[in-house]
């Protein structure tokens, strides 16, 4: 036990004396969560729109007012003819243009129908989609208002509700993803680097020729990172609750326990990487390419798994991050308990045991 404590003490010296690793450990999580929370977002907020109003009557003015008084849109420009549309979009600020046809009010009253054309800048398809949905729903509401005295015999009114994230805040989607990335990065990359560092500097040779057993070396290496990763997870959760008003509807205890499970899973991956790489460089490259990319691309963090081609959907099943993100979203947003995420938890647990067994099998008690 004294051996073990001595070893852990040494690991903490290494971590706290290396500015680079300290930055990765604590600077990056905060920077990432801020970046994803504030800057990288596909939320609709004060989107600039332009209006081409060919009739300029009471009704069109009211519609324009309704749209620009919502917090989602602001009316920036009035244009006079179709020829200007292209040049307005090319400037890049205006994301959508509303075109009212001639004699809008007259047609509405006489023919009971008038058209509004909505043109969106679809260079960013997700945003364009959301914009057109938002404008549509404002128009629908207005239509119901003007029709409220008139009896329509058959009417289907869709009432859409965005459950768990009514305002479609993208931070709700990013927090679980970023937390997963950071825990994966810190745990897997940092441990694999710190183990290969001993190989590279030759200290592993001395450690091998000593009474300390290889598994003690590994646990000694991993333990400080479990501790630091838990602190990281807490920092991320606290930041997202207080700055981004992210709800944690489920049990905090379960959230913590699942996070620790995922941290151990990532650490065992880190150990596995260290058994197959000889230098810190290789360990870092394998961690980045082999872990980070799949976590970002295939975990469902950014791109929905359901819309991926089948082979990628199959591959996504072996990525631990996918299961952890499902668990996180379930606990934080839906408030579900272990009875509903036990399957995902079991998968993570199984993967962890597999990685640990494989690393023990591959771990060398000699130099070759």
């Amino acid at each position: 036990m004294k051996r073990f404590i001595g070893f852990i003490k040494k690991e903490f010296y290494h971590i706290f004396r290396d500015r680079r690793s300290l930055f990765i450990l604590f600077g990056m999580p905060i920077a990432q969560i801020m970046l994803f929370g504030f800057a990288i977002t596909n939320e609709i907020n004060n989107v600039d729109i332009a209006i081409l109003d060919k009739s300029k009557d009471a009704t069109t003015k009211e519609i324009v007012n309704k749209i620009s008084s919502s917090k989602y849109f602001s009316n920036r420009e009035a244009i006079e003819n179709e020829a200007e549309i292209a040049s307005v979009f090319k400037k890049g600020k205006i994301k959508a243009i509303l075109i009212f046809e001639n004699d809008f009010n007259k047609k509405l009253i006489k023919e009971q129908r008038a058209t509004i054309q909505i043109i969106t800048d679809a260079t960013d398809p997700n945003t364009a989609n959301t914009i057109s949905n938002f404008i549509n729903s404002i128009l629908q509401k207005y239509q119901q208002e003007i029709n409220k005295d008139i009896k329509i015999v058959y009417q289907i009114i869709p009432q859409t509700q965005m459950a768990y994230n009514a305002e479609l805040k993208s931070v709700f989607m990013f927090v679980p993803g970023v937390m997963t990335i950071i825990l994966m990065l810190v745990s897997a990359m940092m441990t694999s680097i710190s183990i290969t560092k001993e190989k590279e500097l030759g200290t592993m040779e001395i450690l091998l020729v000593s009474p300390i057993r290889p598994f003690q070396v590994i646990i000694g290496k991993v333990f400080p990172y479990i501790f630091l990763s838990v602190i990281n997870a807490i920092v991320i959760i606290v930041l997202s609750i207080f700055i981004f008003k992210m709800p944690v509807r489920g049990s905090l205890f379960l959230l913590g326990a699942e996070s620790i499970l995922f941290i151990i899973n990532a650490l065992s991956l880190g150990i596995l990487i260290s058994t197959i790489s000889e230098t810190q460089q290789t360990a870092m490259m394998i961690s980045l390419m082999g872990l980070m990319l799949p976590v970002i691309l295939l975990s469902g963090f950014i791109f929905p798994i359901a819309s991926m081609p089948l082979p990628l959907q199959v591959i996504s099943n072996v990525i631990p991050a996918k299961w952890f993100i499902i668990i996180l979203k379930g606990i934080m947003l839906k408030g579900i308990g272990i009875t509903l995420v036990w399957k995902e938890t079991l998968i993570l647990l199984g993967m962890t045991v597999f990685f640990i067994a494989l690393s023990i099998k591959k771990y060398k008690i000699r130099l070759e």
């Binding site: 051996r3 040494k10 030759g202 200290t203 001395i206 091998l208 000593s210 009474p211 300390i212 000699r366």
Partner: protein, 300 residues
């Protein structure tokens, strides 16, 4: 018997590092493994310290088999690899403390063993190991290898890259450690250090050339050696190489060491030969045989 090596062979992918090596090291002996870079010294050390497994043959260290009882060996030996292998970002004191802890002991418990060495670096105990000079690094590494009072000490080229004064001090320390009953196996490419060992093994290309005390090894030398000097050293070597009776010619410090094929070698005849070649201020003096001469002769 402290170390027993029997018919050890070891090959890596395309090179044979050790070919059928056998020798024994007695308890309390200071045994030197002398040979140039690439002779197989480090491979042999790694087999004895259980870091590598030999292809053939067997070895025991302190009575334990190097393969089956590797855990026992790891408890009872001290190992100082050729490359400086301590934690550069830990201070002198922290390094020593760490190695004491993982060997289940404390600095205080075995302080008398390392005292002579450690007092020299103690003034710098708050300094990071990476910022020490070459000589101090070696002293710290030796202290760390000794802190658990090992039965056998393996030192792989401990003096490579160390200044002459520190080298001399280092060997004095080894002598003192030997008096405390520790068996020491040390390797070095420096022939002058060989004379300080109890017994030495000359090793080249994975083969043992000879094993004996330094004095005996020198006595076995079959020829008389002459120091030859002249104004132009390079021309001197070229001329000697063309001399029909030469046996061996190689530079040795400020001289050329020369041996002749004949037992009744006459220096004046050689002086005449060299003068004809245009060399001046020639001197030829008989000289003492050194281990390096023996090595050169055996390695021919």
């Amino acid at each position: 018997m402290s170390i027993k090596i029997e018919h050890i062979s070891k090959s890596f992918e395309d090179v044979t590092a050790l070919k059928d090596i056998s020798f024994e090291v007695n308890e309390g002996e200071l045994f030197g493994l002398i040979g140039p870079d690439g002779a197989g010294k480090t491979t042999l050390f790694r087999i004895l310290t259980t870091l590598l497994i030999a292809d053939n043959g067997s070895a025991t260290v302190a009575g334990y088999d190097a393969v089956n009882n590797y855990k026992d060996i790891r408890n009872h030996v001290g190992y100082m690899p050729g490359r400086f292998s301590l934690y550069q970002d830990l201070t002198v004191e922290e390094n020593l403390e760490f190695f004491a802890t993982i060997f289940g002991t404390t600095i205080e418990e075995n302080y008398d063993l390392i005292k002579d060495i450690y007092v020299q670096i103690e003034p710098f105990k708050k300094r990071r190991a990476g910022k020490l000079s070459g000589g101090m690094k070696q002293k710290l590494a030796l202290s760390c290898a000794l802190i658990h009072k090992p039965k056998v000490l393996f030192l792989d080229e401990p003096t490579t890259g160390v200044d002459p004064v520190s080298r001399k001090e280092f060997w004095e320390m080894l002598k003192r450690l030997q008096q405390k009953g520790i068996t020491i196996l040390v390797s070095t490419p420096y022939m002058d250090e060989a004379a300080l060992c109890d017994r030495i093994a000359l090793i080249q290309d994975g083969k043992i050339l000879e094993i004996d005390t330094p004095q005996e090894i020198v006595k076995h030398y079959p020829k008389k050696i002459y120091d030859i000097k002249a104004d132009k050293m390079y021309e001197l070597i070229l001329s000697l190489n063309t001399y029909e009776h030469n046996h061996s010619v190689y530079p040795f410090g400020e001289f050329v060491h020369y041996t002749d094929q004949r037992d009744d070698f006459n220096p004046t005849e050689l002086i005449q030969f060299l003068e004809d070649k245009g060399l001046e201020n020639i001197s030829i003096q008989p000289t003492e045989v050194t281990i390096e001469d023996t090595f050169m002769e055996l390695a021919r």
